[in-house]
Amino acid sequence: MECVVQGIIETQLDVPVLRKVHAVPFVGPVASEVRLLCDLEHSEPTWTVKHIGGAMRGAGADQISVLVRSMIESKASKNVLRLFYGLGYKLENELLRVGFAFHFQRGAQITVTVSSINKMLKLHATDEAVPVTPGIQLVEVTAPATPENYSEVVAAVSSFCEYLAPLLHLSKPGISTGVVPTAAAAAASLMSDGGGTTL
């Protein structure tokens, strides 16, 4: 299970690469979808199989500003792509995410990723990827949760989003937000603050 919100920022500076993830959603029989993620950061790529399940529904879910959904991950050996092809799965599309990941402990284990999303013009050609939205980066805030503690995690993520409000709007995936007009000024203010203000 995980809690997640997304937003976008406009990039002003060149951001050095810390993480590249090649995401490959596969579609198989019974209309089942699975994602294969290849972490390209290190010399030896590592693969993860990820299943994102249905989001929590109902009046309670509508009232909270954070998406709560089931999510299961499994590390796998590097031939997992061949395995899923062999199982009859078809590659739907593939994306390259390039950016940073930050980790915070604020009432929950929160991960913030800031990434440019790139599409590949040729199959598996990560060196020839082009940005889907040039100058715009996707910000994702996620935190793992269990059925027992998801309320606390939702509260922690919501509270964290409020801290980030001067810089970006964050909302449930699928709900578009737009950039904060004063984000550049807010960022400059934070950076000129002698590093004294920390999130």
């Binding site: 089942s32 299943h51 499994s74 590390k75 031939n79 062999g86 199982l87």
Partner: protein, 222 residues
Amino acid sequence: MPTKWVLHWHPNPGSTVNSQILNEVSQCAEAINGVKDGRWKATLTLLKPNLREDQSQPGEYPRELLGISLPEQPNKYYFILRGPRIVTEADSSIQVIMEKLQSYKSRIALYFEGYQYQLGDFQLRVGKVVSSHSENLRGIVLEVEYLPISSMEKASQVLGEFVDIWQEAVLKRSLPGSFMHNEPNLSEYGLGDNYTPQHTAVQYAYVMAQLFASQSTQAVRN
């Protein structure tokens, strides 16, 4: 990592495996000074594609997917597709993912379980084979593991000599069958000389194939 051979009991034509043979084999392990060291269990699951009638195009989906859990890797799970010779290692959570995906369903599971024995640099595992569908004994497996060496090539002679000693001990009991070691072509699965749990998983896949083949032959004879 040690190297391992997985052998299976091959009944003589006209005979079947039974619990008395299993007892005799276990006594063999102790007769050659094996020290009983605890229990072990491996599970092999046969999964089939979960297709609608209009989806069953020949060749598009494999007939079966094998899933294997091994006692020495409790947090891992292994998938094998025999046709394209693929063996994949994943975290145990991959089983939950596959259940959620519902694209492949478990049809039958084989349980390999019994006692393990230490003999100097060797570890022996004697196990009965039972299926999820019935308590009847389906077969007997024997794992022979040589602990000091991880190179299959280098360990081959030592393992071969040990298995010869084992076969002689079993022969003395005049049992209606013998242990066989049909080593699959592991290099076709992309596996090298350095032994890994994937090597074990592929050997178990082939043992399963041998067990089902010999039981089909038996059924035809009967």
